[in-house]
């Protein structure tokens, strides 16, 4: 698996001194339906956008905290990547978006998946707006969509 020691020196130095933010949560959320029937929503930080959606802003100071909504019937082969980080190898997600947003795998395995999925661009070093604005908005949309559970994937 990946280790911080494998990252470029500049990232290692930055992350060593970085104070990670946390949000308190309380245990208790459980599936209300059997797993096989659960409508799964995927939230990824791979920075995917669909054609026609505004690309993420790689120049935003502190990171682009916005998100894009990906409908369940989206063709993952049409997804574009605009992730700004060079801390990871993007050739995998460029070749196959299922690597981070596995909509094809969910369709093959399950009768139901959530109606909407969400994409962020994860290089957010100043996450305050994610914590107080875009994050809560995604939570609201997930709840509204009737999704039973959420899978989250970083890159």
């Amino acid at each position: 698996m990946a280790k911080l020691a494998d990252l470029k020196l500049a990232y290692r130095a930055y992350m060593r001194g970085y104070s990670y933010r946390r949000i308190d949560w309380t245990p208790g959320a459980m599936l209300s339906v059997p797993l096989a029937e659960a409508r799964i929503c995927v939230v990824t930080t791979a920075g995917f956008t669909l054609p026609g959606q505004v690309p993420f802003d790689a120049t935003a100071r502190g990171g682009d905290w916005s998100f894009r909504e990906i409908p369940a019937d989206a063709d993952v082969r049409r997804l574009l990547t605009s992730h700004k980080s060079d801390a990871f190898d993007r050739t995998g997600i460029d070749a196959d978006a299922n690597l981070a947003l596995p909509l094809d795998r969910l369709r093959e395995r399950r009768g139901r998946l959530a109606t909407v999925h969400f994409s962020f661009m994860g290089s957010i070093t100043a996450p305050e707006r994610l914590m107080d604005t875009s994050g809560p908005e995604v939570v609201r949309r997930v709840a509204e969509s009737g999704a039973d559970a959420v899978l989250l994937t970083p890159v």
Binding site: T26, T45, T91, L99, P136, L151
Partner: protein, 96 residues
């Protein structure tokens, strides 16, 4: 930084009563944010959360391993490929 974003969104969802499971490729960062609700630490490089591009079998295996964790009460952390876990570290939920 991706892992911080994932941890924050995951915590917001769980706080509102929506069960979540996340994949982690960087357990050192995940540990700095612990406890997170349900985490599957996947032994793959950054950028490869579901294993490999163009490998539906591997992607499906990791996806299934992650979704299976939704049966367990949070917090719980598991590794893929699976390793022996001391008994008593988590208990199965009998409802799901």
């Amino acid at each position: 930084m991706c892992h911080q974003s994932v941890g924050l969104i995951q915590s917001l969802l769980e706080r509102e009563g929506i069960p979540t499971v996340s994949i982690s490729l960087l357990p050192e960062v995940t540990a700095r944010m612990a406890p997170l609700p349900r985490v599957l630490v996947v032994d793959r490089p950054l950028g490869y959360p579901l294993g490999a591009p163009g490998d539906p079998a591997l992607q499906g295996e990791i996806l299934d391993a992650a979704l299976a964790m939704l049966r367990f009460p949070a917090p719980v952390l598991t590794e893929w490929p699976s390793r022996a876990v001391p008994s008593g570290s988590f208990r199965p939920d009998t409802r799901a």
